[in-house]
């Protein structure tokens, strides 16, 4: 069992609905994005094209963040999801530096107290209840939803159906079929991290 995601770049319109859904699901404070969509302008006027690349933790099979973590706070579940144990993290930020995709964040405690609109609203208070400051944080493929048999928040909210989530080890799963048929590529494959996120073009 290895959870993974295929992201269809032809379908993504850069609306950032996934970004908002992720923030709503995880209650991340200002400046912390477990997923986001990067815009890229290519070419020169008048031949300019704008493309979008949604990014999130790639839950790599050979994750550099896992290797460099000195405490074992970063660990891998049997289903391939890379997690951070807040109680074990010392805040050395080695994982942040080691992630070739820069998809990890360091959560200063001040952010947890600040809130989006000055002070914490009831939603933020509830969401921040179990969050620790001064630790590394990142996307967990919404493990709390996945464990209940649901898909991650970014997947169910995508208006274009650009994100497809499933078991990469099952050749009959939709995600595996799409990767096979559309020749899905892993981001920065030359870094030898074997990401579980694939881009379809």
């Amino acid at each position: 069992m290895r959870y993974g995601m295929a992201i269809d770049l032809k379908r993504c319109i850069g609306c950032n609905a996934c970004t908002i859904a992720c923030k709503q699901e995880n209650g991340t404070p200002e400046g912390i994005f477990f997923t986001k969509t990067l815009a890229n302008e290519v070419g020169k006027y008048p031949y300019v094209k704008r493309t979008y690349t949604p990014v999130l933790c790639n839950h790599c099979s050979d994750a550099p963040c896992l290797k460099v973590c000195p405490t074992g706070a970063t660990h891998k579940r049997n289903d391939g999801i890379i997690m951070v144990d807040q109680d074990k993290c010392v805040g050395c930020r080695a994982c942040y530096v080691a992630c070739p995709y820069k998809n990890r964040y360091y959560m200063p405690i001040s952010l947890l107290k600040k809130g989006y609109y000055g002070g914490l609203n009831p939603f933020e208070e509830k969401k921040h209840e179990n969050m620790q400051g001064e630790v590394a944080v990142k996307c967990s493929f919404c493990f709390q939803r996945v464990d209940e048999g649901l898909e991650p928040a970014c997947v169910v909210t995508c208006i274009a159906g650009a994100r497809i989530f499933g078991n990469l080890d099952d050749p009959a799963s939709e995600v595996s079929k799409l990767i096979r048929l559309r020749n899905g590529r892993q981001p920065l494959a030359e870094r030898n991290t074997d990401p579980s996120v694939y881009y379809l073009e």
């Binding site: 400046g31 890229n40 550099p64 460099v68 000195p70 405490t71 706070a73 080695a94 530096v97 001064e134």
Partner: protein, 303 residues
Amino acid sequence: MKNLDGKPSIVGDELVDGFRFQTEWAWLIAIAFFLGGIGAGLFLVSVFFKFKLAALLGLLIVAFGKGGAHLLYLGHPLRAWRVILKPGSSWISRGMIATVIFTFFGFLWCAEVVPGFGWLVLKEGTFAGGLVTSLAVISALIVGIYDGLVMSSSPSLPFWNTALLPMFGFNEAFLGGVTLTILLIHFGIGGNLSVNLNILELVEVGLLLLNLLLLIVYLMTMFTSNLTSKVSALLLLKGKYAPYFLGGGIFTGAILTLLLIFYFYFTHQVLALAGVALASLLGDFVVRFTFLKVGVYTPLSYR
């Protein structure tokens, strides 16, 4: 990866693709790496000359300077003990273990000069003496090249991901050790130590030239290995960190240091020697700091 002007885009945290800086490892990590390097370097040079007081100073620089800077940097310093749990894969774990071993056996090696520990004399030629010296030296070597190993072990930042970095870091550490040893001896802290200072000064010049050579080779390699490492190298030579790197790292750390060494060689003014130490150590620190700051990640769209 080009932007509309045909130049590589360097971006911050905005939602656009481009080269992004690593922003977390900065001042405190640079201070920890710098103090770890010169402390371990000073200890190693002192073991060679059996200069126990200087060895103790090196040990204190590592234990309190490097250790203190690392602790200050941690988000949860009270959990620092957990850092030793993954020596199988993490260089930070290995470095922490090496630092603990170094502090213990290094202290045993130079304990006789510590007030109250005069009874703890390490007898030369005995098995115990040899074991303590060997463990202290090996762990000091690891502490000396630790920063290079930590930085080069991750594939995320191409500018750091090279075997040249530990070599360069160790040379910087050794150079710092020699510089401090010369300074301590000139200020009379060496007591009746029989050290040929002329040879030590020649070693310092040799190490400085080797340092400069390694730096040139390093930058040449970075310019030709891939676009991301080239962007980092350009940031050092032409970008926002160029004034620090060229002014502090190259001019002060190498050229001014060499000039002051020659001035000292002919005049034997102790003030010039203090200038050598200051310029050399400042250059070492600036190079380490700017190397941390110019680490950039490869953009996703770069293929």
